[in-house]
């Protein structure tokens, strides 16, 4: 009996391995190996010439890192990245939650709105950028017109992406436009888990809407909020196409995030070693960030 069990255990393990092998293989070859390889290359002088002539890159005494820190562009882009991620994620949680609460109440047409609101989410990112570049267009754009009306003609040539003060706001707006639908959808699913009888009982006991929301709704939804926020936050950390298309990191580096900086170094400047140094630091930041996030908001017990 015992022998039979272990024999069965072995076949189970073998079967598991066979089933899981293709995914582990692809993920290892196309994600894990490249990541390790890029960390190694971040310590070398690795340029296009190395790839073309197929010569091994040489160790360069942390030159990539030293150059990045000395020029100050790295710290600037860390700052831009954090501003973008924190502002966008917070606003998308607040706006998404407001919309979810409204759609979850017995409001007329909630079903239609629920499905219509998803539209921006299915618009490809590159096309979202096109949509908003057109709205932001400095001469004929809708935004220029609206700003002109709202300020009674005082600001008549508003070009949001052309000023280093407002360009990031311009990109954040588009990122929000694209992600609020998903945020709302996830939060709506979470709201469905909040027991209405508990909320009603609290209301009978005299709790008003705001107290009910913070004391009952939010705790019940904590795991949904946590997972959707971390999902959207990681997406925001990785955001590249919006920046690249709308501002290419400018004006004056005001929208140069880590993603833009690493891409520019590697694929525009063809200095792959320097690009790899940026992504290596970026990875360290991500690990630290996720670690702190998990410490700050420990995972609620689901079971």
């Amino acid at each position: 009996m015992d022998r039979k069990l272990t024999k069965r255990g072995i076949t189970e393990r073998l079967f598991w391995c066979v089933l899981i092998a293709p995914s582990v293989l692809i993920v290892t070859l196309f994600i894990v190996v490249p990541i390790i390889d890029s960390i190694i290359k971040s310590f070398t002088d690795y340029k296009l010439a190395n790839i073309v002539r197929n010569t091994a890159p040489e160790w360069n005494q942390f030159a990539n890192y030293i150059k990045l820190f000395d020029s100050g562009i790295l710290t600037d882009s860390v700052w831009v990245t954090f501003t973008f991620v924190l502002v966008t994620t917070t606003l998308s949680l607040v706006i998404g939650m407001s919309l979810a609460l409204v759609l979850n109440s017995e409001i007329k047409g909630a079903r239609v709105f629920r499905s219509l609101m998803m539209t921006p989410w299915v618009v490809p990112t590159v096309i979202s950028a096109l949509v908003w570049i057109w709205i932001y267009q400095p001469q004929y754009g809708l935004l220029r017109y609206l700003v002109n009306i709202v300020t009674f003609g005082r600001v008549s040539d508003f070009a949001i992406l052309n000023s280093s003060k407002t360009a990031l706001i311009g990109v954040i707006t588009v990122a929000l436009w694209k992600q609020i639908p998903l945020m709302t959808l996830l939060l709506l699913a979470g709201l469905g888990n909040v027991p209405t009888d508990v909320l009603e009982a609290a209301q009978l006991d005299g709790a008003n809407g705001v107290t009910g929301f913070f004391k009952i709704t939010v705790p019940y939804m904590s795991s949904v909020i946590k997972t959707s926020v971390s999902m959207i936050m990681i997406d925001n950390f990785k955001q590249f196409p919006l920046f690249w298309q709308m501002t290419s990191g400018g004006p004056n580096g005001s929208t140069t995030t880590l993603a833009v900086l690493s891409y520019k170094e590697a694929f525009i400047g063809h200095n792959f070693g320097s690009g790899a140094a940026v992504t290596t630091i970026w990875m360290l930041i991500m690990i630290l960030f996720v670690f702190c996030y998990n410490k700050l908001f420990p995972k609620a017990d689901l079971d």
Binding site: F15, W16, L19, I20, S23, I26, V27, F30, I31, P34, D37, S38, I51, S98, L99, V102, I107, F113, S115, L116, M117, T119, P120, V122, V123, P124, T125, V126, I127, L130, V131, W134, Q137, Y140, I180, P181, L186, A189, G190, N193, S223, V224, K226, M231, F240, P241, W244, L258, A259, S262, Y263, A266, F267, F272, G275, A276, T279, W282, M283, M286
Partner: protein, 286 residues
């Protein structure tokens, strides 16, 4: 006095006004840009240059679309390439995810825990980091500038989330069904194919549609791993061709936006039920 009654009634009214205000403002923000693009795509190029802009087309025209369909054949090459890449990656993702998801959910050994951690961890890192290295590695094995290389790289990026999502669908299938099949003498493999997999078809659909939307959206992989114009996908093709010098033809650009988005809108609204179920299942479970 009835003051209290009045009070609750005004409060209810105010709350209602607030609700509608939130709804209208957010919905306008989300939907007006779509209207604006569709509107511009039906304007003549002259009209799209009017300032102040017109909010209804003065003379609706299909010129933008006709122009796109007749003068820009490469746009449809990008389109076709994108369909091929997304479809191939989606099929591959689904095929791999269903077996891996089954293993992670149904074979109760502690290796599964580590495999899930491995997958989730790999997903967290910046894509540019992989690409810097893949550029050299794929070139070395002759896969740079090929659809195969692009599809494999995209598939790898999509796998971790898809597998964990798939596993959560398998988790939802009751164990009893399987055990009943075992008692009837059915083997593990045939139970997997005949009993368990048919029950997760809706989940597989969700994973498939999600992957399709995600891979359709790719820009980074295609822009770095493909340099040959004949192999470009929509995102990179559009950016390189129409965003630079041609960006003065706004009626064309907006027609491109409409044509490039329509398939996604159809896919989404047609499969909406599965999509929403899939996405929320993934997030609510965590």
């Amino acid at each position: 006095m009835g003051g209290r009654v009045m009070n609750t009634r005004t409060r209810k009214l105010l709350l209602n006004i607030l609700k509608w205000a939130v709804l209208i403002v957010v919905m306008l923000f989300l939907l007006f840009p779509i209207y604006w693009v569709v509107l511009t795509s039906f304007k003549t190029n002259m009209e799209s240059y009017l300032y102040p802009p017109t909010f209804l087309p003065q003379a609706p025209t299909l010129d933008g679309f006709i122009n796109l369909f007749t003068n820009y054949p490469e746009f449809f090459v990008y389109y076709k390439n994108n369909i091929i890449v997304s479809a191939a990656a989606t099929v591959l993702v689904c095929f791999i995810a269903i077996f891996s998801g089954y293993a992670l959910s149904r074979i109760k050994i502690n290796w599964s825990k580590y495999a899930i951690a491995f997958l989730l961890f790999s997903q967290m890192f910046p894509v540019v980091s992989r690409l810097i290295s893949l550029y050299g590695l794929l070139r070395g094995v002759g896969l740079l500038n090929t659809m195969t290389g692009l599809v494999l790289a995209i598939t790898a990026g999509q796998l971790p989330f898809s597998i964990t999502l798939m596993a959560s669908f398998f988790d939802a299938v009751p164990m009893d069904l399987e055990e009943a099949a075992y008692i009837d003498g059915s083997s593990r493999v045939s139970t997997m194919f005949k009993v368990v997999i048919p029950l997760v078809v809706p989940g597989l659909l969700a994973v498939g549609i999600y992957s399709f939307l995600q891979t359709w959206d790719d820009y980074l992989y295609a822009s770095t791993l493909i340099q040959n114009d004949a192999l470009r996908t929509l995102s990179t093709g559009v950016t390189l061709r129409y965003l630079g010098e041609l960006s003065y033809d706004w009626s064309l650009v907006n027609s491109i936006s409409v044509v490039g988005t329509l398939p996604m809108v159809f896919v989404f609204f047609f499969f909406q039920k599965y999509m929403i179920k899939g996405l929320t299942a993934g997030a609510v479970k965590g």
